[in-house]
Structures are given as structure tokens and as C-alpha cells.
Symmetry: C2
Subunit: 457 residues, 2 copies
């Protein structure tokens, strides 16, 4: 019995239309990456397990797909782990490779491994799939693409400015107007913790604060109290729950709270630098906004934190994010390499463009004209024209079999091919081509040059 075919849960097949739409997004991003001077690298789909394990926390380790060693893998297996039937303990002796979990750790590994070939600051981009053994759910997959741009080897805040402009450029090119680029700074968050005397509870504090959007002020405060932050401390930072106004006004609002914290004020200076630069070089269609609740993977970031929200009215989580991390490559032995980078969420951007009908029509149109097949002799005549059209850059096809006319027409229709050409006895004798516009039904008898002109127009 033949197997009924299926694919693993959390993975996807992409149809021609989906591939073309995804490529459109990726090509747009790639184009802007290049325009901004980023260079592409690619790394292997699987890395040595030692490269990945321990870099994403305990939960991350669990979600990394491990590859079974080839051959007689049990030969070197940890006998004790087998005896105890301890899955976790056994892994390292039967699996030494694992699928990439993100692009950041492989990038750090790449930088350290190739440090002598690289000119720093190194501006790289990378668009490749990653894999996570997460529980699949709507919009969450076990295989998905990441589109990352990072710079390592410079602490200049011009990088941050540039990433704000890059987000603006990409979303503008995608015709997705009105996104909000939210920015925050780890130093500002540290400053808050410092002024309320809760440095030791920085993570708890920011994890709670990060939820303000979703659960509201009261619930956030409740969570802070539960984590041992005093009511007096919360009172002290009350203004951050009601920050209003534009970027500058918000900055003013938090400056009052942070004035006693050197770290906090350093964060404010950074935010000001970025905002002023952007004010001097206005964004095309995006808006830069300060969001002091933004934390993301806080442990990671040391300076700027970015997140991009879809235009108002579109229900969607963030469609991009990033930030600065001061010691990206330290885990692989190369100290003092500050990095900053951003990422684009391909799958979510896809959904947003779909919802707003922003995919250009021409993406789908792959083949322009189908030649109807009337038999071998006519087909040779048709194929000669097809070949010449292709050399003119016009995507053309001959239906391969002399099936019934209706079937061939239906094929053109189903595939959204806008034109068909009929080449029967009469056309051959007169060296003509009968071009039919599928939608209007209009027909013209043309010579070859007229055919080219018509199809190109």
C-alpha cells in the first residue's frame, strides 16, 4: 500500500504563489540591506552541538533539534544513561550536531572563526531558515526564515540611527506605510531599577513592565508587588505608567525619574542622539516612538532595544526587533566586540501584506503566453516562436500535448496566463500568430515582431 503523504507538524509546503510572494519580501529586504552596505554570509544548517547548547537557556536547549550520529551510533553511547533510560543525559553521546536555532549565535561563531579575514566594523546580513521544536500553533512554525542585519566592531550610535532608517526603507519599499519603530534602552531600564533600589530584581521588574500593553497597569503593579518590589518603589516610577506626548516629552518625563542614576542618564543621552539624528533626516513613512516598557530578550541587550509594530488597525505582534549587545562574541573567546542588529519577521510581514492587499499583482504573473498545441508539425512552428520570445525575455510556453483545445484553454486560465497563441495551418502559411487575450477574448493576427511588441507592452 502506498503511504498517504504528509509533512511533519509545524512545517510547510509553499505553493508557487506563496514562494513568489515570500521571495518578493526577501528580495525587497535584501535590496535595502545591500543599499545600506551590508554584506551577505551563509552558515551551515547544522552546527556542532557545543556551538549551540547552553546559549539559549534551558528552554532553548530543549527546543534545539538534535541530529542523530550516523552509522552505529550506539557504539559510543553513554552506557549509564541508557541503563537509567535518561534521555537528556544520553543526547551528547549519540548526537554531536544540531539544527541552527537562530542566526545570531552562528554569526558570532562565524565572526570569531573568520576574524582574520574580516574587516571591522563588519556589516553582515543573513537570510536563512532556523528550526525550533516549539509546540506549533497559529503563526508559529518549527521551520521559519530569519532575516537579520548586524554590525559588529563599533560602538557608534550612528548604527542605531541607520537601523531605524533601514526599517523605514524596507517597509516603505514594501508599501507598508505607518509602521511604528519602538525604541528603548537597557540603560534606562537599569536606571529605573536603580532609582527604586531594585537592581537585584531588574529582570522581574522589566518582565512585568513589558506586559503593560497586554495586561494593563494594575496587573503589572500586582506582579511587581508579588516579586517583592515595594509599593513605595512602584510609587516612585508611577510616571512611566502614564507617559504621554511625543518622543521629546516622554524623554523629559523619564529624565525626572532618572536624574540620580548615571546609567539611566547615559541611556537617555543615547536615545536623544538617535532621535535628534532622525529628526534631522525625517523618515519616509514610519514613526519612531519611545516605549520605555520594551524589554524583549533583556539578558541579551545592553543598549538600544528595537521593536516594530504593524500599522494601526492590523492585529499582529511585532514584525521586527533587535538591539545592541555588548559582548556578542565573548562566548567564543573574542572579547570586546560590540554588536547591534535587527531582524525582520518574514511570516508576519507576509500576513500583514496579505491582509492589506499590498502584494503587487505582477508577482504572480509568471508565464505571459501559452502556445496552443495542434500537433507535431504546428508545434515546431510554435516552439520556434516560443524560443525567440524567451530570448526577448518574455516567459512563454507551448502546451506539451495536442490535447483538446478546451483543455488547453482551461489550463491557461487556471494558471493565470494572460495570453494564448494559436498557430494552425493558416497561420503557418502566412507566417502569422493569432494572439488571444484571455480575459477580453479579443484576437489579433500578428507577425512575429508585432507579437513581441504586443506582449511587451
Amino acid at each position: 500500500m502506498a503511504q498517504k503523504p504528509s509533512i511533519p507538524k509545524g512545517t510547510r509546503d509553499f505553493s508557487p504563489e506563496e514562494v513568489l510572494k515570500r521571495n518578493y519580501i526577501m528580495e525587497t529586504i535584501r535590496h535595502e540591506f545591500k543599499n545600506f552596505g551590508f554584506q551577505p554570509i551563509e552558515t551551515p544548517s547544522f552546527e556542532n552541538s557545543a556551538t549551540l547548547m547552553g546559549k539559549y537557556g534551558e528552554e532553548g536547549d530543549r527546543l534545539i533539534f538534535k541530529i542523530l550520529n550516523s552509522g552505529d551510533y550506539l557504539k559510543k553511547a553513554d552506557k549509564n544513561a541508557i541503563k537509567e533510560m535518561d534521555s537528556t543525559a544520553l543526547i551528547s553521546s549519540i548526537s554531536e550536531k544540531a539544527l541552527r536555532y537562530d542566526l545570531t549565535v552562528p554569526f558570532a561563531r562565524y565572526v570569531v572563526q573568520h576574524q582574520n579575514e574580516i574587516e571591522f566594523p563588519f556589516k553582515r546580513y543573513q537570510i536563512q531558515p532556523v528550526w525550533r521544536a516549539d509546540r506549533p500553533q497559529k503563526g508559529r512554525f518549527r521551520e521559519f526564515y530569519q532575516c537579520d542585519a548586524d554590525v559588529v566592531g563599533s560602538k557608534s550610535l550612528w548604527q542605531e540611527v541607520e537601523f531605524v532608517q533601514l526599517y523605514d526603507a524596507v517597509f516603505n519599499s514594501l508599501n507598508l506605510k505607518g509602521v511604528t519603530i519602538k525604541i528603548n534602552n537597557r540603560k534606562v531600564l537599569s536606571g529605573f531599577a536603580e532609582v527604586i533600589g531594585a537592581q537585584d530584581k531588574l529582570i522581574d521588574f522589566t518582565v512585568a513592565l513589558d506586559k503593560l500593553d497586554k495586561i494593563g497597569e494594575e496587573a503589572v503593579k500586582k506582579e511587581m508587588l508579588e516579586k517583592g518590589i515595594s509599593p513605595e518603589a512602584i510609587e516612585k516610577i508611577q510616571p512611566i505608567f502614564n507617559l504621554n506626548g511625543n518622543f521629546s516629552e516622554k524623554i523629559e518625563g523619564i529624565s525626572n525619574i532618572l536624574k540620580s542614576s548615571k546609567t539611566g542618564m547615559a541611556g537617555i543621552e543615547e536615545l536623544k542622539f538617535i532621535q535628534q539624528a532622525i529628526q534631522n533626516m525625517p523618515l519616509q513613512t514610519a514613526t519612531l516612538d519611545l516605549d520605555v516598557t520594551l524589554a524583549r530578550g533583556l539578558n541579551y541587550y545592553t543598549g538600544a532595544i528595537f521593536e516594530v509594530a504593524a500599522p494601526e488597525g492590523v492585529k499582529m505582534g511585532s514584525i521586527g526587533g533587535g538591539g545592541r549587545y555588548d559582548d556578542l562574541t565573548g562566548i567564543f573567546g573574542l572579547k570586546d566586540m560590540s554588536g547591534v542588529g535587527i531582524s525582520f519577521g518574514l511570516d508576519r510581514i507576509y500576513l500583514v501584506l496579505e491582509e492589506l492587499c499590498l502584494f503587487p499583482d505582477q508577482i504572480k504573473a509568471s508565464t505571459k503566453v501559452l502556445f496552443i498545441n495542434f500537433g507535431d508539425r504546428e508545434s515546431l512552428y510554435a516552439m520556434k516562436a516560443v524560443s525567440k520570445l524567451r530570448k526577448e525575455g518574455i516567459a512563454a510556453e507551448l502546451f506539451p500535448d495536442d490535447a483538446k483545445m478546451g483543455k488547453q484553454m482551461k489550463y491557461a486560465d487556471k494558471r493565470d496566463i494572460p495570453f494564448t497563441v494559436l498557430t494552425g495551418q493558416e497561420e503557418m502559411e502566412q507566417e502569422k500568430y493569432t494572439l488571444k487575450h484571455m480575459k477580453s477574448g479579443e484576437q489579433d493576427q500578428l507577425n512575429f515582431q508585432e507579437l513581441v511588441d504586443k506582449l511587451k507592452s
Copy 2:
């Protein structure tokens, strides 16, 4: 201690230059695929093991990378296999997914699974990586890209004609002139076996014949004798060892041998059809040649067999191959779907283009101009120009730190950036930009529009 970073054997990191060169090849192939009416699909990197196992023979099964189940995978492990320490027997109970081994089986699975959404004949292309646990060696990797185009759902020989034209179009676009597209037909090979009464030894016979190029006539005959093919039988097919002349002359030569074999003559008719069509529509820079020793994965192919050889003088195995297989989707329960397809060998094409210096120069040039950083005030002036240049489609960068001039110039030089711009106090006052051509050292003071014009020319 930090780990010394490395990657698994048989895998590769790709530097910016390598990615750009690889993308150039893939984009050229993709462009012609589209021109010929092929549509892209993508399938997941890993499939259910049942989809892949048993499709590539015993050796293939061994070379498939298996993914360890997530979580407590030992819970469902085959206790008996563990007791016996039987690695092979244990696999299916601890691993249910495996990395794609080629693009053909996933394509067959896709066609069957999505048969109701597909218009047949279905012309699809697919450019994605595959993984094999082969012993790595020069030019053989554990992760590599395949670039495939296939048509399913038509037995028309126009497809074969089209694939010959497609090879010609791609290699011509890559400026790789003089490749030889070798063609053979499974039916011709069957015919040979039939006329010498060795139908039961078809595989042995063709495996030996396929080596003619490498080991020579005597060694091939010796191998045939060892496999139990009689000296009289070999005598009968002697002419195929000395086939000379052009395509038509070779056809004539084998027609004499095959005239008593219906199958063989059917193969000859197919070859003639393809050759005559190509004669009527001459190839641009490739040559079509008959090679009756060509077998490739014989078990697979039922009609045409293709292989592409690099231009004479370039030592390289085949840079492409393919053929017709009459029952592609039968393994997944969809009968009677004839398919024919070809593949491009990305890694080898890369090596050939490298050897013949055929990569266009402009591929490498990513960033066109670097603005030198003189400090924050000057940088804002520079960044404004950088932003505007990017909107003009000119890839521009600002060096992020106000490092020493020499260091910044060296950076431009190392990165092959052809121009730098200096924007000091004087330039700012006069709203000018000093453009320096890195190679000649020539400098010009320009206004913004002149700068754009110069950089675009």
C-alpha cells in the same frame, strides 16, 4: 574557557564574496526557469522518515540524516533494540523525521499531497539545500544546494527538447560557452541488452558501459565478461565502442544493432525527434551529442537520459543531469504520472566559472561609496547625503567612528569600495562633497547632484 569555534565536517561557511557569486548563479538559473514557464515550490527541510526511507536504496537510507525526537525520546524507544544495542533497529522508535536527501522525492510527495490544487502538466522548479551523511571529500559536501526543474503529467517529447534548450539558455547566460549536452535513452540501453540476450543483466551491462570514458574499452569488456556476458554478445555490440561522427551518424550506427529490438527502435525514434527539433532551432552555444554509454541512475529513468559536460579543457565531472522517469509519484499512490527533469550542479558550476574567470566584476562590488567620519557634526552632514544616495539606489555607507583617516581609507580599500567622500568643515560650509576615486587617487569637489551623477555613471 571559551570553545574554539568550528563547523561540522562536510559543511561550509560562505563569505560575502562566495554568497554573491553563488547567488549570481542561482539567480541566472532562476531567471531562465521562469522564462521557460517553470513555477517555484519549496518543501520543508525535514520530512517524515517514512517519506524518505526506502526511496534511495540501502546505501541511501544510511546516508540520510535522522533527527532525534524531542523530549523524553527514550520513553517510546524499542526496548529490544536497546537491549541488543542495535543502532539500525532502534532508529525508527527514537527518530521520526529526517533531513531531505534530494528534491525529487519531496517533489513527488508534494505532487501527490497537493494533486487537487495543481494544474497538470505541472512545471515546477526548486532550489533548496539537501543533506547527505556521505564521507566528505574534495567537491563533495554534507550540505549542498540542488537546482531542479521538472515537468509531471505529460509524456510529450517537447519537454525533452525544452530541457535541452533550457541547459543551453542557462549556460549561455552564464557566459559558459561550449558545454556538451549528452543525451541517451533508457530504451536504447534496454535494446542493447535485448539483442545480446542479456535482459536479465541490464544493470550490470550498463554499469560497465557507463565507465567507458574512465577505464577504456578493454576494461569495460573485461567487466562485462566477469558479469557473465558472453564474448559473442560483446562482439555483437562492438560498434558501440567505436561510434564516431555526428549525432545522425551515431544514430545510424546503433540503428543497425538495434533493428531487431522494438524497444531499442522506440528509443531511437525519441532521440531522432529531439535531435531534429534542435536542428530546426539551433542552440546558442551548447552542443547536443549522443552518448550511448550514458546511464546515470538507470533504475530511475525510463526514457531520455541527460548529462552536461563542462567545456573541453576544464577538468570537472558533469555539471548537470536528468532524464525521464515514468512513474515518479507511484510510490505515494498516484499512478501514471510521467515526469522528466533536469538538475544543475551549483558547486561544480561555481568551480568552472571560477577557473575560467567568468564571474562578472560587478557581482562583488556591493558598496559604491564610503563617507569618511570626521566627528558627530560632520557625520550628520554626511549621513544626510548617505540617506539621499541610498534613495537614489546607490549603496553608500558612513564609517561609524571618527577613527584615523588612514584606518578609514584602509577599510574602504580592503572592502573594495571604489569611492570615498570627505566632508570636513570646508565642504559643509560650501555644501560640497569631496569625492575620491580610490584607485586613481583623483579628487573632485562636487555638489550633491554632481555627486549622484558621478556615482551613477
